[in-house]
Amino acid sequence: MEESGGCGLSLICLTASSGVPLYSRSRGGIGRQLPFSVIGSLNGVHMFGNNLDVLLTATSTENTRVVWKSFHDSINLIVMSSEVDSSDLYLNRLLDNVFHAMVLVVGLEELVNIKNVERLKKDLRACYRLIDSFLTVSEKSGDLTQCVDCVVPYDGPILQECLDAFTHAAESNFGCLMAAGRVVVATEKWWRLAAQEVMLLAWLVASLALNSSRDYPVYLPHGSPTVPHRLLTFQLVPGVDVCVLCGPTPSLQKVETELVERYWRPLQDPVKACLRVQLRSFPASFPLHQGILGLLLINREQKKGVYTVQAQQAEDKQQGVSLSLEQRRAALRAFYTLAVSQYFPSEQGDEKKGKAASKLE
């Protein structure tokens, strides 16, 4: 896109059938509101291909990469990026995350059977914060790796034990303790949710405004996309939330007044300590070579990851020689992208399907 200029990223969501724009979000230099004509032609070219049984997936201009993705023949997402480190892998995963974030908040039914476009537009505003969090640079890697960002806490076993008991008392099997959008500990059942769901739930909680507690309806994109569950969140200290996923009972009031203090107040210190490991993701006692500035450690089986670009404790002393946080982030993400696209193609499940489909059918 010549006219867009600068570097940035723009995301557009439209209905597949009629091409009505539902929303657009952006980061960086690309103007907040894309002209309607640009949106129209971007969608038009995709639709044109569609009518000829050609699935258009991606293209590049001189400085911009454009990726299209269609979901359930109902929602089209288009992303345009002029950022140098925007790989296809990243852009495809971004669109996948964005769509599933929409499912998480409004449910699949409303996205697949669009009855009232205006209503849908309004409802989708509830996803903006979550979607925008994917578009802002963060200390997390889940948007790229689609794995769950974890924190290794100081008192893991104590927190785990308390969480298990608390979740059980709240008549649920699904409980999770989060610090700034990363999982500290979670119950066994929580880990059995799809990795993307665990990741989305953590990002969702981190993206919401500061509140003491919430009773938030969520549609699990893979496990329960049409029947909502209740996500109860309780802010133990600012930045640390304990969450429970449950059905119609118990009430928010009941869990909050009867259980939260009883279970968590005795653990005030270990809970607060979660905030201290936040940037580093693991305790200071963990020995690490001086030369390591950042790291991304992924357990592919469990789809969990530990990610940090501030691996060293007392770092400011050697500030002069080290890379800026931004550069570290970019380097680590680029390395991950390269490794996955070159050496672990099986990780790319979605993208491969996408490419295959781009051939004439």
Binding site: V105, K122, D123, R125, A126, Y128, R129, L208, A209, L210, N211, S212, S213, R214, D215, Y216, P217, P228, R230, F234, Q235, L236, V237, P238, V240, P248, S251, L252, Q253, E256, T257, V260, E261, W264, R265, Q268, V271
Partner: protein
Amino acid sequence: MKSDAPPIWTWKSRLRDAVLILALYLGEVGFCLSYKLYTARDCLNLGRLCVAERRGSGVMAAFLMPGSVIITDWHRSSEGKEFLSSIVRKNKRKFFGLIERPVLPPQVAADTACYKIFVSGKSSVGKTAMVAKLAGLEVPVVHHETTGIQTTTVYWPVKLRDTERAVIFKLQFWDCGEATLKKFDHILPACKEKADAILFLFSFTDRSSFDDLPNQISRVAEESEHIVKIVIGTKFDQYMHADVTERDLAEFQRTWRLPLLRMKSVNGPRLSDGQTLDGRAGLADVSHVLNGLAEHLWHQDQLMAGLVVPAIQAPKEDSLYL
């Protein structure tokens, strides 16, 4: 009042042993008959308390003059400031997680009284904005419908007039989006469960939200006789574009006899970093609302405990908290 505050109850039972005094008082607000288990000095203060009539439906509503239950300008005194420092540090409002609470200087002590307050009103009337303003958080400038229920805890230290005791009010606001409320059945019962107060919001700039108040009150407040009910007019800063006049309000109050507060939910000045909201300035904007809530909640507790008996009184026409 919830379990959090047993010491207050022991204090109340002590009061019950006090002498029963019948006080008759003629004041600026009109004729007020009230008796209370209090000392003589308290009875003079009590004259400032006027309590409204019992309506046909059995709904009981109380009109309190500002300052009849608490000392409204206490926060400006040196003692008040000491208490305020537990919720404002370095001019910044403090936020507390559910397992934290304000820490008072060692030489002062106060009990905590917890209340659940349900914020009701049609979409975009300003529920979320009001709660954010009261909590000293950034007020959202664009309207996004609230999804599900979100609660916000606000601590507010108060000095009781009659006993000169300081009490920390822990006000927990329950806010849910109007659209969510219609979509999911469990939301309204959850918000009303054990609520101590319901706030009915209308917007000064939206006539229909004002006209809908009677509907809203009967829809939401059925079977909640002993709950504090307060009407709050939002977007009062947009007074120039007001769709609702003072006459409308007077008329409404004559019929409904509910206390009325006014709210300007706009972000106040910021600190020198240009980012952080000035905590003290923010509190000054909303102290009349927090005081008003505290007074009515405390008074209702006393009514329920039989420490105050309502008397018949026509409310003054003008609304009371400005």
